[in-house]
Structures are given as structure tokens and as C-alpha cells.
Homo-oligomer: 394 residues x 2
């Protein structure tokens, strides 16, 4: 009994020290966000000294706005006598992965009760998931899980080592089966982490494969900034503030060096090495890269996905971006099995995609087109990935 | 030229929207922390409406304290007329990975100018690194990098799939060399992410190997909470608040199931399968686990590391924790090549480690002992890993 008592004592010391720490941080124990059974959500912040606490988030609809400033999309939270600020949505939220922050007397902060954050370039935001529809693909479910590998490969073309994130499907470790490969490219300001964090790519793959909707495949998430060997904090540049202002993101360098990563994957992973087993897709700048790469190496990819693609932003004085129509003619002479375009109706690149589709139409090049609501946002890119992947390698 | 203009315009839209976002968050562009050439550090927060902004951090020494409350270890920052609060350390900081937070009118927040965070159980803190000494091992340097794999393995003993983090050394992907394996265990409240984030294990391994101080090896970072299949957010439990209050962390279950992960690694990785090529080490509860596992399976490990180990906290009514002396006698009949004990002088487990060493001394069991300043903190565990790893497999 003495030993048991000692053991409990030991646990108690740990637990008390943690509780003390939490108490120091937050006052009383706070649950935030709390997702109720009907999918309304309550946010809470203990801030007895604050004069105004607001919520900022992509779940906020016009009906929720409770201030009189039409330029202010933030919601005021309500202060209780106990110093606890709360806000409960007036109606259930629809299924989605939502991001939010709190604003305390003008200072934007993350919710101290929610440890789950995504980084979008230099901005950290909390997130939560309302189940259902597409969002069920974004959750970790009780299904077989693939592996995620962060590793460095050699790019002889660029003369550097570069970091890449690779998803291998459940079962990859066993047997001698060879898998097809999807190359998945991020947008401007992103890096090899973006599709895993904001894009939930590993969860989407696990779930689509478990549902029998997608072929087991390897997904290769590159870093499309040739001036950056790795995501912020993962290179010898140290702990700097991420920025979009990276040179050489759209000057042809990434596309020229792209065979380096294909060679690395095909030499180091158990993959099928044929056009019918390779796909490339990307969002925004990554959609631009995917368009350029797939036409530049027409023998490489039988599946191409342009998600909200910055499809016509290439500086034509750069050889890679010149003579696009001629190169497309070569590509479509032996057309990809799937050339897939998705964009939101409110996207600032919408008109550009209309023009690009007109070009494809005028040449009678086959493609598929998906139009969604909303604009240039991750919600759409998660949907596009969820729709594109089931179409691959079948 | 029109195309170039369009391209610039496109970049501008992106950059402006990001700047607007940053401006919304922070007011003017803020650099925080700024590490000066002499290793003094300036912290900054734009909070014009705040009445008091404090800093909390493990870099704070008595000489920095600038308030009169002896119970308050926080530093007051100074408010400028522009709403910018600043604090500069009065003297250079010694090399280390430091963690900190800011406290705005009593509300603890993360520094919005620093995207680098570590999670310790349910607490996120910003961090920065002052170069030199051990801290040079914690940085990403321009050296060959190993890979980090997050994957799931089957534990027949526990009847579940479980998540594990695995480091493979540079060059693992090529050739047919077989590698030794270090099993590296976390403490109470930790999980399979802890040694990578707070412990910087992958950086330490890369750098020690690059310096020729460590043998290339595989490092297997398990989840020692058998009631938790994966780190918070990585299992189908969803996005819950992490806690130390996990059952079955010290009831013998983890130790009983440990051969499952050894079998998985030896079946799926190119490793040497002999006692002389296996090491096990852990911190706090993980040190306890390492002690128990290494004596329970005396044929498995030739290298054992007990870092600030909770070495005598086992409930003796549990068979795994009973008859420890008899089991140690078996283990030391064919003694491990290295039995390594490290603890800080201020650790609350210090006396317990003194008693354990007395037991080993009384039996003349060989071990090595390293005593450091400070207590039960990650600074010590990073140092212990940095000292232990160069001793392995030689």
C-alpha cells in the first residue's frame, strides 16, 4: 500500500503542476470551441480585464454579425460576470474545417484552449471540424492509415538538396506491389507542409482509400519555391518569419527541375513508372506549375489537376512560359486521360480560367470542369482534391 | 511587356492581401524575437490598448526581474508611444533553445510575430534558439538530413494499431546497410511527437552524425500511453484538449507490449537484430519504462539510458514492477555495454535516483552517471540525448 500511495503521490505532483500551469494560463478550465450535438458551436475565452473580445473566422455568416460597422466581419463575444467571454453560433454550422482567431482589445490571438493550429504562410489560426459531407474526409477516422515521410532529396538541376513530404498508402510497407503517384503542388507562400496541414491530404487519402473510392497511391508534396530548400524552420535559414515574397517561384526554374523529384521518387519508392500511373495537380501557383510541367513533359502525366490555377500568369519572355499553345498541341496530341479544372465562382482567377477553357474548347482538347461556390480558399482546394483523387488511375 | 505587367500585378495582389492580413494582425511589421549579434534578445508586441504586457520564459534570470512581487517570475515589457511594447535582455543569453509567452493584461498569449511553437501537453509556447554549445545540435544545419516517418503499426498485444515516429539516418534509402536502433521514450503527458518537437531529436541526430560523433542509426519514438493510440489530433478521438490524466501509463501494459514495436521495426526496416545493436532510453516516465523494459527483456538491449527517470515509481502489486532486484540481477549477469543515468541536481526525482544508484552500487552493477544543473526540464533531456547518442553502438 505504501508503494501504491507513493505512485499516486507521484501522479498527483504531475497533475497538480500541470493544472497549476493551465490555471496560470487560463483561469478556470475552459472548453473552446465546444461543438454541441446540433453543430452549434460555443467559443470561450477567460479574459476578465478585456474591454472587448471579438471572434474572427471563416465560419462567420452575415446573420451572425452583431456590430454596426459594415467593414467589420468580426463577432463580438459576450462578457460574463466571471470574466469568461462566450459566443455561441445562432444556428448549426455546416460541415467543414473552420479556422478562427480571437481579438482582445484589438490584439489578434489564438484561442488558448485550442492547441490545434494551422499555419498559412506567416499566420497561425486555430481550427475545428464540423462532421459530415466532405469534412468527414478531413478527420482522422478509425481506418487503416498510410505513412507520412518528411525527407530530403537531391536536385542536380538546382544544385541543392530539397525537402519533400511523401504519403505512402496503408500496406505500402508490405509486399511488392507497385503504386501510382500523385504529385501535389502548393500555392504561393506555401511549402511542402501546406497540403498536409491546411489541405488535410493524408487524412483525405486514408479515408478515400478506406471507402474504396480511391486507388492506393503515393502522394508527393513538393516545395515549389526554388529559392527555399525547405519549409520555414526546416532549413539552415533558421527560424525566420515566412513570407510570400520569394523570388524564382514562377520563372521556370521549378518546372525545369521537376524531373529531379520524379527521378528520386521512382528510384526510391516502389512505384509504377509510366504515364498512366502518374498524376500532377496543384492549387493556384501550383495549378500554374502543374499546367506548365504537364505540357513541358507531355510523356510524364496522364492525369492533370488545375485547382484555382493561376493558369495564365507566366511571363512569356521566359522560355518555359512561351509557346504554350504549341506545347499544349503536343500534349493533347496524346491527350491525358484526365485534364481536370476546378475553380470557385468568386475566385479572382475565375475569368482567367474562363479564358483558358475557351482556348481548350477552341482546340477541342478534352477536359473536365468543376465549378464551386466561394473563392480562392482552402475549403475549395480540399474539395477539389477529394473529387480529383477518386478519378485517378482507373 | 503587357504580360510582365500582368505578372507583377498578380504578385502584387497576393503580396498586398498578405500584408493587409499581417497589418490586421499586428499593426506595423514586427520582428520578435530579434536575436542581436551579441546574443541579447529583443521581444516586441504591438498592443496599443494594453495596460500591462509581461514576458514569461525559461530564459528569465533573477537579474532580469523588474517587478517587486517575489512570486512573479514575469518581466514587464515597456510601452512605447507607438503602441509597441518591447523588452531587451540586459545581457546576452547563453546558448539554448528557449521557450516563452507573453501576458497581456493577465491573458497569456503566444507572440504573434513568431510562428514557431512547441506543444508541451496542452500548452503551446513560442521558442527561439541562441547558437553555440549544445544548442548548435538543436538547429537545422547545412548537413545531410535523415528522414522522419510518421506511421502506424500493429500491436497484437494491445489489440490496436498505434502511431510511431521513426527517424532514419541520411543514406538509409540507398544501399543495403543494416542500422542499429535507438528506442526513445517520452515522459508523462508526452506522445510520439514530443522528442521531435521539444526534444529536437531529428536535428540532434543529423548534427551528431554529420560531426562523426554518432553512428548512423534509426531512432524509434513510441507513444508510451497505451490508452492513446496516437498523439492528440492524430487519432479518431478528434481534436480534444491533451491531458496528463491518461490511465494505464504505468501499469505494465506498455512494457508488456513493447516487443510489438521491436518486431515491427525489425520486420519493416533495414536494421541489425541483435542486442549489441539495440538501445533504449527515455525521460521521466520514459526512463522508468526504459528501466523496466530493459530488465524485463534482458536479451534485447545493450544500451540503456535513464534520463531524469521516475525510476522507482512502480506499483509493486503489478507483476512487471515486482521483484525488480531479481530481474536486475538477471539483466546485469550479462550486463548492458552501457547503462547510463542522467539527472539534474534540482530534479524532484533526484533523491530517488540517488537511491537507485546506491542499489546498483551495492550490487556492483556497472553504470555511468551524469549530473547536470537544473531540474526536470527539456533542456536537460536534450543534453542527455546529445551525450548518450555518441556512446552508442561503438
Amino acid at each position: 500500500m505504501k508503494r501504491i500511495a507513493t505512485s499516486f503521490c507521484f501522479l498527483l505532483v504531475f497533475v497538480l503542476s500541470i493544472q497549476a500551469q493551465q490555471a496560470l494560463w487560463q483561469g478556470p478550465e475552459i472548453v473552446s470551441p465546444e461543438i454541441h450535438p446540433d453543430n452549434t458551436v460555443t467559443f470561450r475565452l477567460f479574459a476578465p480585464n478585456a474591454a472587448l473580445v471579438e471572434l474572427s473566422g471563416d465560419f462567420i455568416t452575415d446573420e451572425m454579425l452583431n456590430n454596426s460597422d459594415p467593414g467589420n466581419r468580426n463577432i463580438k463575444m459576450e462578457k460574463g460576470n466571471d470574466g469568461l467571454w462566450t459566443y455561441t453560433t445562432p444556428s448549426p454550422l455546416t460541415p467543414e474545417l473552420y479556422s478562427y482567431s480571437m481579438i482582445v482589445d484589438g490584439l489578434r490571438i489564438n484561442d488558448p484552449s485550442n492547441v490545434y493550429l494551422n499555419r498559412d504562410i506567416a499566420t497561425l489560426s486555430n481550427y475545428f471540424i464540423i462532421s459530415g459531407d466532405y469534412a468527414d474526409l478531413y478527420k482522422v477516422r478509425n481506418v487503416p492509415h498510410g505513412s507520412v515521410i518528411k525527407q530530403w532529396y537531391d536536385s542536380p538541376t538546382l544544385g541543392t538538396k530539397r525537402r519533400v513530404s511523401i504519403y505512402t498508402p496503408p500496406g505500402y510497407e508490405k509486399g511488392d506491389r507497385e503504386y501510382p503517384v500523385l504529385y501535389l503542388l502548393h500555392g504561393m507562400g506555401g511549402d511542402e507542409e501546406a497540403w498536409l496541414s491546411l489541405g488535410r491530404a493524408d487524412r483525405i487519402m486514408d479515408n478515400l482509400i478506406a471507402e474504396g473510392r480511391a486507388e492506393p497511391m503515393i502522394v508527393v508534396m513538393t516545395n515549389g519555391n526554388v529559392d527555399q530548400t525547405a519549409a520555414p524552420g526546416e532549413s539552415d535559414l533558421g527560424l525566420y518569419t515566412p513570407t510570400t515574397r520569394l523570388p524564382h517561384t514562377m520563372d521556370g526554374s521549378f518546372e525545369t527541375a521537376f524531373p529531379d523529384i520524379v527521378n528520386f521518387v521512382e528510384e526510391n519508392y516502389r512505384v509504377k513508372k509510366e504515364k498512366g500511373s502518374r498524376a500532377i495537380a496543384g492549387l493556384s501557383m501550383g495549378g500554374f506549375h502543374s499546367m506548365q510541367i504537364s505540357k513541358e513533359y507531355p510523356e510524364l502525366f496522364d492525369y492533370v489537376g488545375l485547382f484555382s490555377a493561376a493558369v495564365d500568369r507566366g511571363d512569356k519572355s521566359i522560355p518555359m512560359y512561351n509557346n504554350v499553345e504549341e506545347k499544349l498541341a503536343v500534349q493533347f496530341a496524346n491527350a491525358p486521360r484526365l485534364y481536370w479544372i476546378g475553380i470557385g465562382k468568386d475566385d479572382f482567377l475565375f475569368d482567367e480560367n474562363v479564358a483558358y477553357r475557351k482556348l481548350l474548347d477552341s482546340k477541342r482538347y478534352p477536359y473536365e470542369y468543376v465549378q464551386t461556390p466561394d473563392g480562392h480558399i482552402w475549403k475549395n482546394w480540399r474539395i477539389y482534391l477529394s473529387e480529383f483523387v477518386p478519378r485517378l488511375f482507373k
